[in-house]
């Protein structure tokens, strides 16, 4: 790690100012479960680290006029175990349960989960001067892209790593942030922007803006499902969250795009009608229709389709009749080294 000074201010405004005025750059630390990895690999080299631990009022989960209010420092474990979240926003509790390991859930916070940096292996190694680190290339295009984006990619092809964000996009959550210009509240989908906008970052926050609270409309039927290679701990290869609220269905995919990916195609296919096995399959197919896989991640298309179909059925409480019959077209012949 590069040496840095450590500050622990007592208000969000002071924390934001401490970031803003740092002569050699600064980073916020909440649980540190993501930041420490970046500091150790020297992908992040701030001259100052600003801890949120002494800021009061950022913890806790409460219900207020039809919404769950979750403090930025609420831990992933608290979200996973909260009876309120389990009852009123089950997709979020399921997403939290799927994060990391017990140790990581104990320290990892909601704010840190939403603002964590990508896990792309080229980004995470200091030796690769990729687009995200200010270099000129996305190494996934020519390199090993098995875990990269199939939707919304380019010029950088990371997938967003947060499981909570996927659930929160489906649940139509909003985020309150504090910065130089005071407080503002934005829909969670607007917290994220595609690399086409700015490949160096995933969120739309100014560097000195801090997430204070997440607000989740309570009571929609919802579900979250995640496919991972290792059950004990793993980021999503593909995840899906579906909420069936009063304003209609909302569908989000994880592990497939540089942002938590809202699928309006799937939402339109589901429409306002009750979910059936057929409409779930059609919606999942519609969601993946725009997919543009890279060299090694074609497998994610049918995988995401299956995970989404099951998630829609789970949210609606409709029994899963099993996968629809595969289309009669023969599979394209693979070139050596294609797909993994």
């Amino acid at each position: 790690m590069r040496a840095f000074e450590y500050l622990s201010p007592k208000t969000l405004e002071a924390a934001s100012a401490a970031v803003r005025t740092a002569p050699e750059g600064a980073r916020i630390i909440a649980g540190g479960q993501d930041l420490l990895g970046e500091l150790k690999e020297r992908i992040a080299t701030p001259g100052r680290v600003v801890s949120l631990k002494a800021v009061p009022g950022l913890r806790g989960i409460r219900e207020e006029s039809g919404s769950l209010r979750i403090g930025a420092l609420a831990t992933v474990q608290e979200v996973a175990e909260s009876p309120l979240v389990r009852e009123k926003a089950p997709a979020l509790a399921e997403a939290a349960t799927s994060v990391g390991t017990p140790q990581i859930r104990a320290l990892g916070t909601v704010g840190g989960n939403l603002c964590q940096r990508p896990r792309c292996w080229y980004y995470r190694l200091a030796d690769f001067p990729c687009l995200k680190k200010g270099g000129g290339t996305c190494f996934a295009v020519e390199g090993d892209s098995r875990y990269h984006a199939i939707l919304g990619g380019g010029p950088c092809h990371i997938v967003h790593p947060s499981d909570l964000a996927v659930a929160l996009v489906a649940l139509d959550a909003s985020v309150e942030v504090v910065g130089a210009k005071g407080r503002r509240t934005i829909p969670i989908a607007d917290l994220y922007a595609l690399p086409a906008v700015d490949a160096s970052r995933e969120t739309t926050l100014a560097p000195d803006e801090i997430v204070a609270e997440v607000s989740v409309p309570a009571g929609a039927r919802s579900a979250f499902r995640k496919f991972r290679e290792k059950l004990s701990l793993d980021f999503a290869v593909v995840a899906a969250a579906v909420a069936l609220g009063p304003k209609g269905p909302r569908v989000a995919l994880g592990g497939v795009a540089p942002v938590p990916w809202r699928s309006r195609e799937a939402e339109a296919a589901l429409g306002a009608k009750p979910v059936t096995a057929e409409s779930a399959a059609a919606a999942a197919t519609a969601a993946l229709a725009p997919a543009k896989p890279l060299k090694n991640n074609r497998y994610k298309v049918p995988l995401a389709c299956a995970v989404l179909r099951r998630t829609i059925l789970a949210a609606a409480g409709v029994a899963d009749p099993g996968p629809p019959a595969p289309p009669a077209t023969p599979a394209p012949t693979k070139k050596a080294g294609e797909d993994f």
């Binding site: 790690m1 630390i29 420490l36 990581i104």
Partner: protein, 180 residues
């Protein structure tokens, strides 16, 4: 003329890039350390405080061998900044035994051979201790879930699960004793 020095009260973590003065509570004792702000808790425990029972593994949060308890909860000391843990109750494997009296988990791990190379053992012991304090009679599935963040490269998981079950039974029979 040399001035009489009164010992300074440790300042709260703040200030320079080279040193912070921290007051840490480790295994029930207050420990003062002057260390760099970018020290991880793992480094502070091992290098500043000489508590080498906590092990360096992957340094990435994936193996769990650096697990310590903070206020009774297992966390990864490799992903924690020491300065963030002032005033918290930190327990390392050195704090499990009560003098010469081993913790029941330490006894059953030894009795059953639940350690092969032993590198993962401190992390498993502490994670299991936290589990048994919360759930005195965990099911096998609950044990598997609680220990999912601890990796044993020698893959002796079955013995580890059995040792946790036996320790749980012993602790239920004997009631609380020893250790913290």
């Amino acid at each position: 003329m040399p001035e009489a020095r009164t010992p300074k009260k440790p300042r709260r973590a703040r200030g320079t890039k080279s040193a912070v003065h921290l007051l840490l509570r480790v295994n029930g004792e207050d420990r003062e350390v002057t260390t760099a702000p970018h020290r991880t808790l793992l480094e502070t425990l091992r290098e500043d405080l000489g508590l080498t029972g906590t092990k360096h593994g992957c340094e990435l949060g994936e193996c769990g061998t650096c697990t310590v308890l903070v206020d009774g909860q297992p966390i990864l000391s490799c992903l924690a900044l020491s300065a963030d843990y002032e005033g918290r109750e930190i327990t390392t494997v050195e704090g499990m035994a009560d003098g010469a009296q081993l913790h029941p988990l330490q006894e059953t791990f030894a009795d059953l051979g639940a350690a092969q190379c032993g590198y993962c053992t401190p992390g498993f012991l502490l994670t299991a201790k936290a589990l048994l304090e919360e759930k005195p009679s965990p099911s096998r599935e609950e044990i598997r879930e609680a220990l999912a963040g601890n990796l044993c490269r020698c893959t002796g998981y079955l013995k580890i699960y059995e040792a946790v079950e036996q320790a749980a039974a012993r602790m239920r029979e004997e009631g609380p004793r020893g250790g913290r």
